[in-house]
């Protein structure tokens, strides 16, 4: 059973995010970075399936700058067997379509029975790459799963997903792609022996050239969507307390709703 888990390094959940000076990105100074929490559910599920089946390989894959190696190494410390780091200066400014293209090229180098993604990355919240890769690879997929059972012959799986008012249960042939929701499992911690072993595990680095992708096929120039502006949420101003008895307060409230808030 070969399983791939595509992960993204994102700012830690407790980070205080500020837009950068040009408003086109976030200010990364002083931020700490973690493995996207939804991707951790994918890694945990992969490790559980491998343990259950008793054989196979769990490969973690990520695209990003040099720093991304920390996230991959963390996944190796948690228990993944090997990692693939895709980095290329030409990838800067890529949109989700380009990221999906590149991941597809990397995933097609091996035969994976299952490919996991988080249901979304908590930085941009696009929720697009996993299902986009499924389309490009022409593989079946189930998005936002909260339970997965793999058949004993490794050929089929049953995935559960929460829908309005109930649970949808989907039979699917493997190989397939799944995007993971948080009820799927409880991710384990990296262990000390795992941390000490992480550096000895294989880490393959691919450039676009290694994946036979032209550098002008990706990046900001080729992006089909462009980020216009990032802005912090508007500051909330202090509320107004209305004075007087109930009758006076209601009269004042109606006047304010009409004249200031202009809701009628």
């Amino acid at each position: 059973m070969n399983i791939a888990v595509c992960i993204k390094q994102v700012p830690a959940t407790e980070s205080k995010i500020r837009p950068s000076a040009d408003g086109k990105d976030i200010d990364r100074t002083g931020l700490s970075f973690v493995v996207n929490p939804y991707d951790e559910f994918g890694l945990e599920e992969a490790l559980k399936i491998k343990e259950q089946v008793g054989k196979g390989t769990v490969t973690v894959i990520s695209i990003g700058e040099d720093k991304t190696i920390e996230a991959l190494r963390t996944c190796l410390a948690v228990g993944a067997d090997q990692a693939i780091h895709i980095k290329d200066p030409a990838l800067s400014g890529s949109d989700t379509h380009a990221i999906a293209l590149v991941l597809t090229a990397a995933l097609q180098k091996e035969n994976y029975d299952i490919i996991f993604f988080g249901k979304q990355a908590i930085d941009n919240d696009s929720g697009a790459v996993g299902i986009h890769v499924a389309e490009l690879m022409n593989l079946p997929h189930v998005a936002v799963i909260n339970k997965l059972e793999v058949s004993p012959d490794d050929k089929k799986a049953v995935a559960h997903r929460q829908i309005e008012g109930g649970t949808e249960v989907i039979n699917i042939d493997l190989p397939a792609i799944f995007t993971c929701q948080k009820e799927l499992n409880v991710p384990r911690y990296a262990s000390l022996p795992g941390i000490m072993k992480a550096k000895q595990k294989p880490m393959t680095i691919y450039s676009l050239n290694d994946l036979n992708i032209a550098t002008d096929a990706v990046g900001a120039e080729k992006a089909m969507i462009t980020l216009d502006q990032l802005s912090p949420p508007e500051k909330r101003t202090a509320g107004t307390a209305l004075e007087g008895n109930a009758g006076e307060a209601v009269t004042a409230l109606v006047r304010l709703l009409h004249e200031e808030a202009k809701i009628f």
Binding site: A190, L192, A198
Partner: protein, 386 residues
């Protein structure tokens, strides 16, 4: 000079932080209110398979060989969540385990250190007696040789993990004439040995979830192979162990200091007085500045000293400086934190009140501030300044 954590150290810190956020912080108030030692023991059970209880020990004894740096990182992070848990683990690793690592032979390390490192057994270190605290050399617990055994009689007091430990390193008087100069011997005592009993001491200012006990030895028979190191070497082992544990105690102070600074910053931004957040007032800002400056100093001396220790340098002076400065700085910091929180900081429902109480003992146990000053002065007067 290189002031950057290695990749492994960074991963360790991230992992322990996550563990503390998810497994310890949600329980910390309950542990304190209910004096709930069982919850702390439950945390240790979860920490063991991750390898957290053997961090500084060699791999062949079930440890992770991450040195004093790794151990300092562990205690700093644990102390952000719960001092009771941090002290329980500190006594287990830094006092019991370290004594055996320093003084034990191969067979003892295999038999006793390994189960401690793997978390299969819990350890304690019994030095203090009703009449021997700072003046540890005047301990009275009698250790009398008889055939192939030693017979222990006496009482130990305020022993962390005393009544939950399986393996206890006990310091006894084997030669009343020689005392600390060759008359004190360290023994490994198994808690189920007949004649041994432990009584929990509940009424403490802080560390309410840490098991503190009085240990009573009535004709406790310990085989001679459980003598740690040589007969008469006990005081040396006890003091070397404290050199190391003082440093880790200082590391624990950093975590608590950072946590209450974080609470104080958040609180001061939200708390409105005189129509503005109190963080706008210079009086509050100066307290935050002083807390931050002290935390930077704590971090700087502790990790520098941990690095020295890992290079094989002896650290009696530096360990004492770290312990003295960090325990006293933490008390100044928690005091300011309570002040910033005002009435909220005095109320038991706010964690800052717990940190205030838990902090105080750091200036007392494992050598009072006064003892640290004596150690530092003696070292400087003997070896010269710099």
């Amino acid at each position: 000079m290189d002031f950057i954590f290695t990749e492994e150290q960074t991963m360790l810190r991230d992992m322990v932080r996550k563990f503390v956020d998810q497994e310890i912080k949600p329980l910390a108030q309950q542990i304190d209110k209910e004096h709930n030692v069982a919850l702390v023991q439950g945390i240790l059970k979860k920490a063991a398979p991750l390898g957290l209880l053997g961090i500084p020990f060699p791999e062949k004894y079930g440890g992770s060989n991450m040195g004093e740096m790794g151990y300092a990182i562990l205690l700093e992070e644990l102390s952000r969540g719960c001092a009771s848990t941090s002290v329980t683990i500190g006594a287990h690793i830094g006092l019991a385990g370290t004594s055996i690592l320093i003084g034990g032979d191969e067979a003892q390390k295999e038999k006793y250190l390994k189960p401690l490192a793997l978390g299969e057994k819990i350890g304690a270190y019994a030095l203090t007696e009703p009449g021997a605290g700072s003046d540890a050399a005047s301990l009275q617990l009698a250790a009398k040789a008889e055939g192939n055994d030693y017979i222990l009689n006496g009482t130990k007091l305020w022993i962390t993990n005393g009544d939950i430990a399986d393996t206890i390193v006990v310091y006894g008087l084997s030669d009343a004439k020689l005392k600390a100069r060759g008359g004190i011997t360290a023994f490994i005592v198994e808690a189920d040995t007949p004649g041994f009993s432990a009584n929990r001491i509940e009424d403490k200012m802080g560390l309410k979830g840490s098991a503190t006990a009085e240990l009573v030895f009535q004709d406790v028979r310990v085989p001679k192979e459980n003598v740690l190191g040589q007969v008469g070497m006990g005081f040396v082992i006890a003091m070397q162990t404290l050199d190391e544990s003082r440093l880790s105690l200082a590391a624990a102070c950093i975590g608590a200091a950072k946590e209450v600074l974080g609470m104080s910053v958040d609180f001061s931004k939200k708390r409105i007085a005189f129509k503005q957040p109190i963080a706008q007032f210079q009086a509050i800002q100066f307290m935050i500045a002083d807390m931050t400056a002290e935390i930077f100093q704590m971090e700087s001396i502790v990790y520098r000293t941990a690095w020295m220790y890992d290079q094989g340098t002896k650290i009696p002076r530096e360990g004492a400086i770290c312990k003295l400065f960090c325990s006293e700085a933490l008390d100044r910091i928690v005091d300011k934190a309570v002040q910033i929180h005002g009435g909220n900081g005095f109320m038991g429902e706010h964690p800052v009140e717990r940190f205030y109480r838990d902090s105080r003992v750091n200036r007392i146990f494992e050598g009072t501030s006064e003892i640290q000053r004596m150690v530092i002065a003696e070292d400087v007067l003997k070896k010269g300044s710099y």
